[in-house]
Amino acid sequence: MTDFGFTRAKSSTVNLDEVDTSLYRRILQVEPDVRRCMECGSCSAVCTAAPLSGMSVRKVIHALERGVDIAPMLSGCMLCGKCTMVCPRGINTRHLILSLERYYKKEEKA
């Protein structure tokens, strides 16, 4: 192929036909309440870690559903549980984070 001196950026389109939702489906088995999230952002708004680390339970749940890697975001969480206190859909968000961390720990070992 002729080198034109530039490359085409990778498409940023979310292609739902190719999204890998295997982790999402695994997590749903232990955290079925996650399905109830309405992306209101209350969890992220109260999160002490959010402004500095970019942590956001809402984004974690959204990314999970879209098959995006969420491991980097989790490290910002201090497990304080404020997000769980405010969630209007009654999701145990802190527990979700623990389940995700447990999953990644297992992955590391394997």
Binding site: G41, S44, A45, V46, C47, A50, S56, R58, V86, P88
Partner: protein
């Protein structure tokens, strides 16, 4: 002799039903716990979608039921099933025997103090949708009068869509009410920046979307997609409001001079008391259960007990009025059997 029909609740549902019952030759008896008719609508200022003065609607409707018996400041003390009907004993001691009863006890505005994180009853700069309607009507509220209004916020879904507040339902009328009130505030304070904090905008009714478009185009109202998580007071006396700006994915804060909470509609606890007297059911949303939620909202599953208006769920004024008329037709059919 004309046949009695007892109507519990003299809001617009009860008034409209009384009017239609009079036209059909019945003797409607309204039992209203407050000292005036009109229910919640009597507290509002201007009604969407046409900004009709609420007072005009209530006055006009009330003027048409001069032939009805109205007991104000009265409630129902007991309701007992007789063969073929009911005996209703009122708090003023009067007993009425009738074959049909219409429950039109309406809704209850969610008590905003229960959502402590929003600071109602704690901070002076936090008011409710009802307080704002009162201010539009009376022009008097120490929390607004004489204060500088540079930035005003509206919080949608207060006590609605909130499992922790005990109400998972959408109250349906508060999105359009917030936008209506935001526009009215912008007219009163043209220099103010106005923010509506919403999760979803639900503008389902006739011409409601026009309010949204006008609010954006003609009034420059800002819409922030994020649920307010907490409210605090700053040293300068303004409020600090926090949310996530979910569309940019960043935490957001803004200082405000006034915050208006859109308290939602929940079932009136008095309705539940009456339901208990006749062993009527409560639906899973906390409101009274209709015989059928699709084609028979106006009938309960108890013989002779009919339902109209917001005692069975959130409704607008035109929906309530239409339902009251439908309930009267059901009553008429029942009594002429």
């Amino acid at each position: 002799m004309k046949e009695n029909v007892v109507i519990i609740g003299g809001g617009i549902a009860g008034i409209e039903a009384a009017k239609q019952l009079l036209l059909l030759g019945y003797c409607p008896i309204i039992v209203e716990k407050q000292d005036h008719l009109g229910g919640h609508v009597a507290e509002w200022h201007k009604l969407f979608p046409d900004m009709t003065p609420a007072k005009d609607i209530v006055d006009e409707m009330t003027s048409e039921i001069s032939g009805a018996n109205v007991f104000l400041e009265t409630t129902v003390s007991s309701l007992n099933r007789l063969s073929g009907g009911y005996s209703v004993v009122l708090s003023n001691g009067i007993a009425i025997v009738c074959r049909a009863i219409l429950i039109a006890t309406g809704f209850h505005l969610f008590d905003a103090e229960k959502k402590e994180e929003y600071g109602y009853g704690i901070y002076n700069q936090v008011i409710t949708n009802r307080d704002l309607e009162h201010w539009f009507n009376s022009g008097k509220d120490a929390r607004i009068d004489g204060r500088e209004m540079k930035k005003i916020g509206f919080v949608h879904c207060v006590g609605s869509r909130d499992l922790k507040a005990g109400n998972s339902q959408c109250s349906k009328v508060c999105c359009v009410t917030a936008i209506k009130q935001a526009i009215e505030m912008k007219e009163k304070f043209p220099e103010a920046e106005i923010y509506c904090f919403y999760m979803d905008l639900r503008l389902f009714g006739k011409k409601y979307e026009d309010f949204y478009i006008n609010a954006q185009k003609d009034y420059g109202i800002h819409f922030i997609r994020g649920r307010v998580s907490e409210v605090g007071e700053k040293i300068d006396g303004s409020l600090q409001v926090k949310a996530e700006d979910t569309l940019s994915g960043k935490p957001l804060k803004v200082s405000l001079d006034l915050l208006v909470l859109m308290a939602g509609m929940v079932c009136n606890p008095k309705t539940t008391e009456i339901a208990r007297m006749i062993h009527a059911d409560i639906d899973t949303d906390g409101f009274l259960r209709s015989r059928n939620n699709i084609y028979n909202i106006m009938e309960s599953d108890r013989p002779g007990i009919f339902l109209a208006g917001t005692c069975t769920g959130t409704k607008t004024v035109p929906e309530t009025v239409a339902e009251a008329r439908a309930a009267v037709l059901s009553i008429h059919n029942y009594l002429s059997r």
